[in-house]
């Protein structure tokens, strides 16, 4: 049986609404919407691609070859030492914040 209710929008709408309601974790999104974690993750990915959510990788978990807490960090919290974040060759953990994107 599907977790979302017909007429009330699909999984994307439900996930987006959960963010607007102020959830703090993907598990909480799953609890609110009744969607499987895999579906929640896929929806979040897609909403980021659509520009409805904003995902920001925090440099406190440094990308390979750089960090964001030194004097050379950039305004966005990314590494300022030339390391690319997110890096395709990342070998460390990443900390990502997701929030509802503000209208331009």
């Amino acid at each position: 049986m599907s977790a979302t209710t017909p007429g009330a929008g699909g999984p994307l709408t439900a996930v987006l609404q959960a963010f607007r309601d102020g959830v703090h974790s993907l598990d909480e999104v799953g609890e609110r919407t009744g969607l499987a974690r895999d579906v929640v993750q896929a929806c979040v990915d897609h909403l980021v691609r659509l520009g409805r959510l904003e995902a920001r990788e925090l440099a406190v978990g440094c990308p390979t070859g750089g960090c964001g807490t030194c004097a050379s960090a950039t305004a966005t919290g990314q590494a300022g030492c030339g390391a690319v974040a997110p890096s395709a060759t990342r070998s460390g953990p990443a900390l990502v914040t997701i929030s509802v994107r503000r209208p331009a």
Binding site: M1, S2, A3, T4, G10, P11, L12, T13, F19, D21, G22, V23, H24, S25, L26, L35, A36, D38, V39, Q41, A42, C43, D45, H46, R49, L50, R52, R56, L58, A59, V60, G61, C62, T64, G65, G66, C67, G68, T69, C70, A71, S72, A73, T74, A75, T76, G77, G80, C81, S91, G92, P93, A94, L95, V96, T97, I98, S99, V100, R102
Partner: protein, 625 residues
């Protein structure tokens, strides 16, 4: 036949398994994207196989995805006769969006289901038959790494080739316009279809064992234990740093104040400039100032290494959660924790990082709080004073300063919110935590080295400039005398400091030697120690060039200014150092981000808070100590 699918689902592995790794690579016109081409025997015929670049959907976000879309939806007859969508069982929903889009066409589709073993470890089993029914196209489970199941895939492809076009999935309609809401509705409908397929085909086996990451997180992010654990970890970091680095620091100190100073003095004398102002500049200025800072290199390296290990292990992400929860509880904007965390490294990028906050009020408030986060430049002063005045508890004292920094951020934040901005509003924050992992030596050392370089690069530039400025001011006579011939206590440097010093008498450190360091520290905190080294080297040149002499003279200064309560006066001095303006670079960043008016307001708040706290600490502390 085309192999399509999201990146990292085993597409190329399947391609090699099907084609025997006889892959040729061709550059397609207009792109630099590589597409694998090969052949596979399907029944009696040989079918060309194209391994397309990874694509999550047919809505391109990159040249790779654009190429995949162009090849799959080509209308010039070059489109594949059958599309094999490689889907990971471990991330099924993510893989099926492409299937949803392809099923809106009549193009034959076969789904190759990979990574069932990964899904099984997560306690999930995917029913291929149920998925076949839900998707309306064949689904073949296989393991391309072991080359098992590929024959069944070939059979399914052969069947799809003979069956011809599929009936397009009903319900979905193209967006038809550029309306973003229409795009969302269409994607929502597709996800509804994907979700129904996932619900029908994925079964939780209940075998998902709680990982050790889950178990640790139950403690590390718990509401009460989490913050306590964070504090304990940070205490251990400072304890280890100050204890282990101490012998190295002493050895470097002995080297700089002994052979290096003597060698520099000999060199200056050898070129005929001995006993001139040049000798004072080189030996008592550059060598004493820069050398003193260099003695902190082992300490900074060790601290950066320990923090890098904590970050690489994944613990710092949990610390961010703990910090965030605390901030939200007291009503501060949740996302403000990022600039504040960055501030513990350096305040300048932290002020710039307030740009991530959505409202002007949140940006201004956070930019005003950043200077209260204790940057790494202030650490050197804490360590010098803590090791001098509290040698048995240096690590604990340094840790207490960081704790005080957090408390200051919270209290000043609450004070500003309750007076200036009563309606701040909270921004929702979602954090997905990565699993813990064993820190890698190479990465940790690399991060440590990069941070150390950053510290040295910033410090060295500032130190040389301030050493020159301090030396000039110390060489200029305030009254009579000639340049470079005047005792330091009669110099312009001491004279300026004496005019400010009475204001700090109530805090127990109203001596010009202490106040001058704070004045220099207004430029940059890295220069506080070098200015002391210069001052005391000039005051007592002979004794200053022996290990521990700076500490002895600091003790004498603080004891004299506090009426015998030197240790309490030092604590008050450290609190003042923590709370007053961090450096001119931070002010410049604040002016750029929040304007001159708020920057001036911030400086006033910092000075008032710093003076008030220092006076309270000294006046209360001397009653008991």
């Amino acid at each position: 036949m085309a192999l399509a699918g999201a990146p990292n689902v085993g597409k190329s592995t399947l391609f090699n398994a099907l084609t025997g790794a006889r892959r040729t690579v061709g550059n397609w016109p207009g792109t630099t994207v590589e597409v694998g081409r090969g052949a596979v025997a399907v029944g009696p015929q040989t079918v060309a196989v194209v391994d397309l670049p990874g694509a999550y959907s047919l809505d391109p976000m990159s040249p790779d995805e654009q190429l995949t879309r162009d090849l799959l939806l080509a209308t010039d007859g070059s489109a594949p006769d059958v599309v094999v969508v490689v889907a990971s069982a471990a991330h099924l929903a993510r893989s099926l969006y492409l299937v949803a889009q392809l099923r809106e066409t009549s193009r034959p589709v076969v789904v190759a289901l990979t990574m069932e073993d990964v899904a099984a470890r997560r306690g999930q089993r995917v029913d291929a038959a149920a998925l076949t029914a839900a998707l309306g196209c064949p689904v073949v489970a296989l393991d391309p790494r072991r080359r098992s199941g590929t024959e069944r895939l070939v059979t399914a492809v052969e069947h799809a080739l003979h069956c011809g076009p599929l009936v397009p999935r009903p319900g979905a309609r193209p967006a038809g316009d550029e309306d973003p809401e229409a795009d969302l509705r269409l994607a929502d409908e597709r996800f509804g279809w994907v979700e129904q397929a996932v619900t029908a085909a994925v079964h939780e086996t209940g075998a998902r064992a709680r990982t050790w990451s889950d178990r640790i997180d139950r403690v590390a992010t718990a509401p009460v234990v989490g913050p306590l654990l964070f504090l304990a970890v940070m205490w251990a970091v400072f304890q280890v740093t100050t204890t282990v680095a101490a012998p190295l620091q002493d050895a470097l100190d002995a080297l700089v104040t002994g052979p290096v100073s003597s060698g520099a003095s000999w060199l200056v004398g050898a070129v005929g400039l001995g006993a001139t102002p040049v000798e004072g500049f080189v030996v008592d200025g550059l060598v004493a100032g820069v050398g003193m800072l260099l003695t902190f290199v082992p300490l900074m390296a060790l601290m950066f290494l320990l923090l890098a290990v904590l970050e690489d292990s994944g613990y710092m992400a949990r610390a961010a959660v703990v910090t965030d929860r605390l901030m939200r509880r007291i009503g501060l904007p949740g996302r403000a924790f990022l600039p504040l965390v960055v501030g513990f490294g350096c305040n300048v990028p932290a002020v710039a990082a307030t740009r991530i906050l959505p409202t002007v009020r949140q940006r201004v408030l956070t930019a005003l709080l950043v200077p209260f986060t204790s940057c790494s430049a202030r650490l050197t002063v804490y360590v010098l004073l803590a090791r001098t005045f509290f040698p048995e508890h240096a690590g604990t004292v340094v840790f207490a300063m960081y704790l005080a920094s957090i408390v200051l951020v919270v209290l000043v934040g609450l004070a500003l919110r309750s007076t200036l901005w009563r309606s701040m509003g909270a921004e929702p924050l979602v954090i997905d935590l990565p699993p813990y992992q064993r820190p890698t030596v190479r990465l940790s050392l690399s991060v440590m080295w990069l941070r150390l370089q950053g510290f040295l690069r910033t410090a060295s530039g500032i130190i040389v400039v301030t050493v020159v400025a301090v030396w000039l001011l110390q060489s200029l006579p305030a009254g009579g005398g000639s340049f470079g011939e005047v005792p330091v206590e009669d110099s312009v440097y001491a004279s300026i400091s004496r005019t400010v010093a009475p204001a700090l008498d109530p805090a127990g450190f109203g001596q010009w030697e202490s106040v001058s360091a704070l004045v220099v520290g207004f430029v940059a905190k890295e220069a506080v120690i070098s200015s002391w080294a210069q001052t005391y080297a000039l005051a007592e040149p002979s004794s200053a060039r022996s290990p521990g002499a700076l500490g002895d003279q600091l003790t004498a200064t603080f004891d004299a200014s506090s009426g015998g309560h030197g240790a309490v006066a030092v604590l008050a001095f450290m609190v003042f150092l923590l709370a007053y303006t961090p450096c001119v670079a931070t002010l410049a960043a604040q002016r750029r981000e929040i304007g001159t008016r708020w920057t001036v307001f911030g400086v006033l708040v910092q000075l008032v808070v710093a003076w008030t706290l220092a006076v309270v600490v000294f006046q209360v502390g001397r009653v008991f100590w």
